[in-house]
Symmetry: C2
Subunit: 151 residues, 2 copies
Amino acid sequence: MNDGVASHIRALFERHGLRCTRQRQVLYEALAATKLHPTADELFQMVKSRDEGLSLATVYNTLEAFSEVGLVRRLACAKGTGPCRFDADTSDHVHLSMPDGQIRDVPEDLSQKLLEAIPPSAVEDLERRMGVRVGGLTVQVVAAPEAKVER
Amino acid sequence: MNDGVASHIRALFERHGLRCTRQRQVLYEALAATKLHPTADELFQMVKSRDEGLSLATVYNTLEAFSEVGLVRRLACAKGTGPCRFDADTSDHVHLSMPDGQIRDVPEDLSQKLLEAIPPSAVEDLERRMGVRVGGLTVQVVAAPEAKVER
DNA sequence: TTTCCTGCAAAAGCTTTGCAAGTAC
DNA sequence: GTACTTGCAAAGCTTTTGCAGGAAA
């Protein structure tokens, strides 16, 4: 029983070597549909009305499985402490971290402007000199905690 | 009793409105002396031989106090989960996150090359359009988890 | 002397894990 | 049928907190 399903999700999972379970579908759909970069628990709250009996542990396990195959991205919150957040948009884009721990997407054009500015030569230098392969580059803008009055 | 102390630390604390206690001195010195970006617990292990009776809770409280006044920086590890790390170097510089959770500094010249590439106009745009004041911009390079063989 | 800091222990918050039952393939 | 997933509960790890005693200013 798993047939009335948006078949692109099934295909997506298959392509990543993931079995297609009801819980995974619901969770992936919910995560892909929101721009809120929810925490595991927030996502759990969002879907538990739609899937009685779903367990928070499954949410964690599922998000871990998704992250492992690159289907979603784990976002560290800038504060360093607190729960981590998840994003089904795995394309390169810049995040804005709010003082309260929320994360927002920076608009596409600005995001691109920031990412394109990174000189590839510097990244190559870095790989050579530090003896690593660069898997990704994260640019995170941190909003100032002060009230947003003009100073 | 707090007089045989490197007076620059005392002055540093005073300038930031922090009382100068033995524990804070020891912790700040240890953090400033290492390039390892330790977690709270690692720092605790590093100093507890030098300060019997020091409590891990105090390490946390102290690092929190330091962070609040900008004396140290909290680093989120790129994995999203796991303990956070601390850095007494608050100047703008780029970090390299290793797959095992460690964090290394990117050499000064490369770091600068990356940071200088960020167009200030994009940041200003972002402030205007998202209605926030940008408190900081974090560039984090994530090393690929694969073995560092040449491909 | 007033206020803040420390240590301890306990609690809280986030995430992972063991296991038996269930499901996908 | 086999291997993987789920739900539950329990454990694990990281961080915070309450409080009484102690130290800094």
